[in-house]
Symmetry: C2
Subunit: 464 residues, 2 copies
């Protein structure tokens, strides 16, 4: 604790908990990416909004960079502190503060894990419908900072749709109480929406008022085996017109092979090119509309094999084939791309992307999966055992540059739900125009003139 | 056409249609408010995005203020040009450009009337669910500029929820193609959402890609007569839990009296304090769940009278009681307030507001109606016949100041869906904090350094 800046921080925020031990700096200085060596100045662990304000006032005055930090489950390096920044962890601010049955809202501190929010909603007979696999570790503040999506966007939208109010501390330490849970509010610029997906560069989320939905309907879970992506799109179109889809996820035979090798049970006797796992509102596995819709797809010759879960346990088993992919791939140190195009552009994009990867990088195994209804493809490039990690990452950066060009030609985005952070920063120009990036820079400068909030993330700060 | 600035505009945009006749200046210089005397410099009527860009480049260079103009059905003066501004009317840019059946989107020029959009969606077997009474005149660009709401927000949300892409021309004439129809896109600040509800102060909307929804379910329409607002809230809660509500609107006996005086048929033999008209998903007027829900409310003693529409024609008749209010009140030159609080705060707010108005302004007749599910109350103060218009407006400004204070205490907004424009500008500080207004000013200055876009709307420009 010899750094004089920390002494001045102690003076500015007397009760603030600060962590400076090497293992703490390592732990709080990184997210799920492993490409940067954590090197924060220290870790501030405020317990109150007042303390967050004091930290930011101090940081603006001293010109110290601050990295807001939630569950650090990010995949784009948005929460990495590798340049002597102060990590501002919200993890001690994790309380559920209020539930309102009339407004159907839940107010929570930003450090509350997603799972805590989901559980609190369930206890009140409602649901918080944003969901993804890192639910136990990721925090609402982090979800808001990246506008997190997940497996139920098709039906419920992204995090953005569920934020009715947001308390945000600005770089200067001002507390903004944005929208305050109102359903309708046309009173100037919606700074709440500007803050969502800003990855901690415009302010620190300290509290959120979240909308809740009625509980999900009873669903049936299906797993379908399909011969091609074109057919997959036709099945999606046909089922969307006939059923109320709650989720519709696809993955390739490659993904399934890895999940099965990782311990899951193979669902069919042979392997198919594509699989879909879906939840559709239904009275049970024998629901008439469900069987009619499934029958229609079979009649068209689209479905090569399929199974309707007959129990909750079997449904969970089918979903594990999709949700287990990330874990099953992890030992292969995958290089992750998270792209999206318009749903209608998916077949052409996927065909071109597969051709590109096969032609340029025949030695790489690529695992594809994603959210068809959202146009979101997760492309995981697996590290060949014989290739060193550094060479692999360098090679993947080339892959990403090629892919980014392809995404640009198809009008898509290089980040559907992971955010830009450090990882996608070089490719931002493939998704946002120079004019847009210029405006983003200007907005950031207007809100944080000292440039202390998560500098270097999203885009580089201007030369000083 | 002697103004030298118009000559320079002609040179900058050779084919641009310009209108300068006195009746045209009058027509295009005002919206549905009638408190300002129109005095525009001229009216530009571009036919292409290129022309819009040329106008804005010229305006930024010359320092000429520009008022973007849609259907001019606004109620807050956002489209008023009373200070020698150039009106930039989008009314010639009204084409439906594209429909995509896979993405379920409709791409339209900003000057397309809401009704045109609704009709185009219906032709494709889908719906554009934002709806309100000015649908034939208002434009999509104007809807986006105010984040218009209407009678179906309860079920479908505001305009914001339906904008998948936005083309915006900035003050400097840059064309931004924002979000481009993507469902998922976490690539930095969402400038689309910043532009929505910015009332033409951050850019001119020239094109929008709108999401469409599946067609609405068959509904039953009910009219209920209720003894009090507390009961009304209980009915809302009970029905929301039992039925899929598509709309739930209330109005007072005063409103009904005016609508009936204006030619509508009285629904019941006597008058009641409150009425609700609602649409709920139902197989028909005898739908079991509907009758069960209605029966529950009757058993509780909440409903004093009620009717279920037995035909489309009767449903239309019941809805006319609600939708005809604005027109029926118009001859009384009502002073309109459009406030919202959280739904849970409505009973306390309404009680205090009614007490305030009764105590301070016993001579005013006040018509209340609105959208319970959104917390949105329309408060129309009717001009007593004997009071002059000017004295009435002055008196109403006092009313509004009192109401704004009340709204502030209840955590609400002085504008739920009309926008701020000129009318609400003095009260913005009751809804947005000084810090928020400071940030809005900074953002506006960053995007429009010359201050040409709709100056004086939302908040005053800084002193120069």
């Amino acid at each position: 604790m010899s750094d004089p800046r920390l002494e001045s921080l102690r003076a500015a925020a007397p009760g603030l908990r600060l962590a400076t031990a090497p293992d703490e700096l390592l732990h709080y200085g990184r997210d799920w990416t492993r490409r940067w060596t954590p090197a924060p100045l220290a870790v501030a662990l405020p317990a109150t909004v007042d303390e967050v304000q004091a930290v930011l006032r101090w940081a603006s005055a001293e010109g110290v960079a601050v990295v807001p930090s939630g569950g650090r489950t990010g995949l784009s390096g948005g929460a990495v502190a590798a340049n002597g920044e102060l990590v501002l962890s919200l993890e001690r601010m994790r309380r559920v503060l209020a539930f309102d049955p009339v407004d159907r809202t839940l107010t929570v501190e930003a450090g509350a894990p997603l799972e805590t929010v989901q559980e609190a909603a369930r206890q009140h007979g409602l649901q918080y419908p944003v969901d993804f696999a890192s639910r136990g570790s990721c925090t609402i503040g982090g979800n808001i900072a990246t506008n997190a999506g997940g497996i139920r966007v098709l039906r419920y939208g992204n995090t953005r749709e569920w934020v009715a109010g947001l308390k945000l501390v600005t770089a200067s330490g001002e507390l903004l109480d944005l929208n305050r849970g109102l359903v309708k509010n046309s009173s100037g610029y919606d700074l709440r929406h500007l803050a969502i997906a800003s990855e901690g560069t415009l302010g620190v989320v300290v509290e959120a008022t979240l909308k809740l939905a009625p509980p999900p309907p009873p669903v049936a879970t299906l797993l379908l085996a399909l011969p091609s992506f074109e057919v997959l799109m036709q099945v999606f179109q046909a089922l969307r017109g006939r059923l109320a889809l709650e989720a519709f996820e696809f993955f390739t035979g490659t993904c399934l092979r890895h999940v099965v090798a990782h311990g899951a049970q193979a669902p069919f006797e042979r392997e198919y090119p594509y699989y879909v796992v879906l939840d559709a509102a239904a009275e049970g596995p024998d629901d008439e509309r469900l069987l009619e819709a499934f029958g229609h797809c079979a009649e068209q010759g689209w479905v090569e094999d399929g199974v309707v879960a007959q129990s909750q346990a079997q449904a969970a088993q089918l979903w594990r084939l999709r949700e287990g992919i990330t874990e099953a791939l992890a030992p292969h140190l995958p290089y992750k791309n998270d792209v999206a195009v318009r749903v209608s552009a998916m077949p052409a994009f996927l065909a071109e992307a597969q051709a590109l990867l096969a032609a340029e990088y025949p030695e790489f195994e690529v695992a594809w999966f994603g959210h068809i209804g959202d146009g979101n493809l997760h492309i995981n490039v697996l590290k060949p055992t014989e290739l060193g990690q550094e060479a692999f990452v360098a090679r993947c950066a080339e892959v990403t540059a090629h892919l980014a060009g392809l995404v640009e030609r198809h009008g898509g985005t290089i980040s559907a739900e992971h955010g830009i952070g450090l990882v996608k920063k070089p490719y931002l120009g493939c998704t946002r125009s120079a004019a847009e990036i210029g405006i983003m820079r200007a907005l950031r400068a207007a809100l944080d003139p000292a440039g202390i909030l998560n500098p270097g993330k999203l885009f580089d700060p201007p030369e000083r």
